[in-house]
Amino acid sequence: MSTVTYRDALNQALKEEMQRDDRVFLMGEEVGVYQGAYKVSKGLLQEFGEMRVVDTPITELGFAGIGVGAAMVGLRPVIEFMTWNFALLAIDQVVNAAAKLLYMSGGQFNIPIVFRGPNGAALQLSAQHSQAFESWLAHIPGLKVVSPGTPRDAKGLLKSAIRDDNPVVFFEGEMLYNTKGDVPDEEYVIPIGQAELKREGDHCTIVTYGKSALMAVQVADQLEKDGIRVDVVDLRTIRPMDVAAITASVRKTNRAVVLEEGWEVCGVGAQIVDHIQRDCFDDLDAPVIRVHQADVPMPYAKNLERAAKPDVAKTIAAVKKVMYLPD
């Protein structure tokens, strides 16, 4: 084991997969000469050259589509979006092309491509740079959607995403890149579609993924001091969702809180709650509560932003509520 940042874990995954398979190449804005807007691609241009680390102009729709075309003939592009906010300009290629070509062609053209980049809010970047889009992409059949919260998960899942024969949407986070964690020194992959229990307890379940998994772990650690033990189910993959892991946990605890960065309406949490009500109806001792961003565009001011975001205190309050405990 080594202690590695989330950023370096992604860098290792890219490097190892590019060494392993010469069909893999990285393309996006500032990935080469600049060494990556968030330095995820640091050193890759020097090692692999400009044919495999392709700098593009600011033209998200163009390079996303070029990636899809290259994937149609067997290359394995990794498309870096500087943030998922900018990827909205490219969503035609993700949704109308990458997700549908295999089906429309009757199985003739699979699209082995990864679309990756930071998602969700950082600090005071305001409305156009602070959005969490996972529910948008998870809605689309044909896509796999991954959102790892730790360096170990980020590396193992990015390697799986690159090896996957389908389009994989890979959500990172600006606030995650500097976080550190243990990463195995030996080669490993983490399968897409498998949740992991990040904390174990029998009083309540917190279902979450991505950056919020770190928050959920903090919540669990704080509650433990009060004698409240929670299961933290870190989905890691949003589509396909590990429903069995959610069900197993909720059947044990009989209570659930669903925590996500995104907005409430039609959010990923709504899908999770649907699974819980279908599979655990008779097991529940309380209604499931969701914790999420306030239903507003992200404000700039520090106090307003704090009020808009989910946090540890809001999540602890939700856990206490489903346990019918006083605040």
Partner: protein, 322 residues
């Protein structure tokens, strides 16, 4: 043009597409074919002419008005017709329909129904071909409507910047659905737009299949020689409505009639007759053969099975190991 067998072959290829689509329109009325059906009638010279300049290793990317391109490329008519019916024997097993014909074997990459959405795909195919050392050309067909899309401009910029081996074939039929070129474009000389990206570009009479072939050969020759992307604006006209749902109220009958006098099939027939390359008997022979092929394709589609509903979710994702 000299009275060569090639001229007759071009004529036969255009007649084959024309009659196929006329049959499709009938089959639509009979409700054998449903959904959107966009006919290429009037524009056949472009697909047929450009295909002459391509090798089997080259790639083709087309729009939702692609029956002609699919047939000219050599996809089996039975499988094309079966796809129009939505049958299991169709090119996409009934999952695509008229707008989504695909064929990996002939490097036919759709059948794409988002206007402009396939232009970056074409550039991506070309990038991959270059990365993997295949010296081939990707021909990308699109209408004048696509020229107003951001994807057109982003793709042309990148293709020129990276000198990708793409032949951009603009089928300018003067109407983006019902919107006339003059109502859609600030600059109606579409080749100028490509030229602004430093891509060699010029207009060609899209009703003259010989001119189309000549221009395409010139362009693909230059692309193969490493001279980067080329752009040809083929000036053409759609004789039928945009789709089967279009009452065609945005253009005058007189305008349609004027263009019909430049029907690419009539133009070539007259020329070949003048040169003594075809006569009534030869033309009747072509029509007879084509009709027989279309009859057989319709019978094949009619008698084919539907895809079992149990396979509904097949091909949503690919689960074969890489």
């Amino acid at each position: 043009m000299s009275p060569t067998a090639n001229g007759v072959a071009l004529l036969r290829a255009m007649i084959r597409i024309r009659r196929f689509e006329e049959r499709c329109a009938e089959l639509y009325q009979e409700e054998k074919i449903r959904g959107f059906l966009h006919l290429y009638i009037g524009e056949e010279a472009i697909a047929v002419g450009v295909m002459q300049s391509l090798t089997p290793e080259d790639a083709i990317v087309a729009t939702y008005r692609e029956h002609g391109h699919a047939l000219a490329r050599g996809i089996d008519m039975n499988r094309v017709m079966a796809e129009m019916y939505g049958k299991a024997t169709g090119t996409s097993g009934g999952r695509g329909g008229s707008m989504h014909l695909f064929d990996a074997k002939t490097r036919f990459f759709g059948g794409n129904a988002i206007v402009g959405g396939h232009l970056p795909l074409a550039a991506g195919l070309a990038l991959a071909d270059r990365m993997q050392g295949r010296g081939v050309v990707t021909a990308c067909f699109f209408g004048d409507g696509a020229v107003a899309e951001g994807e057109f401009h982003e793709t042309l910029n990148l293709a020129a910047l990276w000198q990708l081996p793409v032949l951009f074939c603009c089928e300018n039929n003067r109407y983006a659905m019902g919107t006339a070129l003059e109502r859609a474009q600030s600059e109606t000389e579409l080749a100028l737009k490509a030229a602004s990206y430093r891509i060699p570009a010029w207009p060609v009479d899209g009703m003259d299949v010989v001119a189309v072939e000549g221009a395409a050969r010139r362009a693909t020759g230059a692309i193969r020689a490493g001279e980067g992307p080329h752009f040809i604006e083929f000036r053409t006209y759609r004789f039928r409505a945009h789709s089967m749902f279009d009452p065609d109220l945005y253009r005058s009958k007189g305008e349609v009639e004027t263009w019909r006098r430049r029907d690419p099939i009539t133009l070539l027939t007259d020329r070949l007759r003048g040169e003594g390359a075809v006569d009534d008997a030869a033309l009747e022979g072509i029509e007879r053969e084509v009709a027989a092929e279309i009859d057989a394709a319709a019978a094949f589609a009619e008698s084919s099975e539907w895809e079992p509903v149990e396979t509904l979710a097949r091909h949503v994702t690919s689960e074969a190991p890489s």
